[in-house]
Amino acid sequence: MKNRLEELRKLRGVTQEELADRLEVSRQTIGSLENGRYNPSIVLAFKIAHFFNISIEEIFIFEEEQK
């Protein structure tokens, strides 16, 4: 699953540490999310969406696996 987290974070002028602090997760989690190595839980996805004040679909791009 791709996401626009890094792009949105930079647009807001927020560092990874600050975003991690606000979402109460580790900075490594933010890094992994931005690199696409880790997919968040639905709770964290909602927290991120609330932080940026946009919908989850605008941050996370769901792609069905190709057969």
Binding site: A20, V25, S26, T29, S32, Y38, S41
Partner: protein, 141 residues
């Protein structure tokens, strides 16, 4: 609550260590089969005591520094860290299974009956415990 939990580990270590020392004097030298038990218990107890002490010191340090306490709490509750621990635990389960199987095979080949019996027993408990926890979590989740 956490502080109580850490102290519990420390006191448990002290207790095991003390029982080990006590057994050293209580087990007669003629009883060769039980001679190693006090050494194993004191060693095990000392190890747990050190771990308990380290936990208490860490807890004290965290209590003095609210910023560190917050970082520690975040690291504990971080969902990626939880997933990492779960994955590591699952991988370790397989490694333990493999090691127990190898050990059982060696004991069987050497015709060590008691050791074979014990290792195969532990191996079975190891496998059964996985299915028990799957059953328990299947009800909870």
């Amino acid at each position: 609550m956490k502080q109580q939990h850490k102290s519990y580990i420390f006191y448990m270590g002290i207790l095991i260590f003390a029982i080990g020392l006590l057994l050293k004097f209580l087990i007669p030298e003629s009883n060769e089969a039980w001679q190693s038990v006090p050494f194993v218990m004191t060693g095990f107890g000392a190890g747990i005591t050190v771990v308990g002490l380290a936990c208490i010191f860490r807890q004290k340090m965290i209590e003095k520094d609210p910023e560190k306490a917050k970082q520690y709490e975040i690291a504990e509750k971080d969902e990626r860290n939880i997933q990492l621990r779960e994955k590591a635990g699952y991988a370790t389960w397989y490694i333990t299974l493999f090691m127990l199987a190898i050990l059982s095979l060696i004991f069987v080949m050497l015709d060590y009956k008691l050791q074979s019996f014990l290792t195969i027993g532990v191996l079975l408990i190891h496998v059964i415990s996985l299915f028990v926890y799957i059953f328990i979590y299947n009800k909870k989740i």
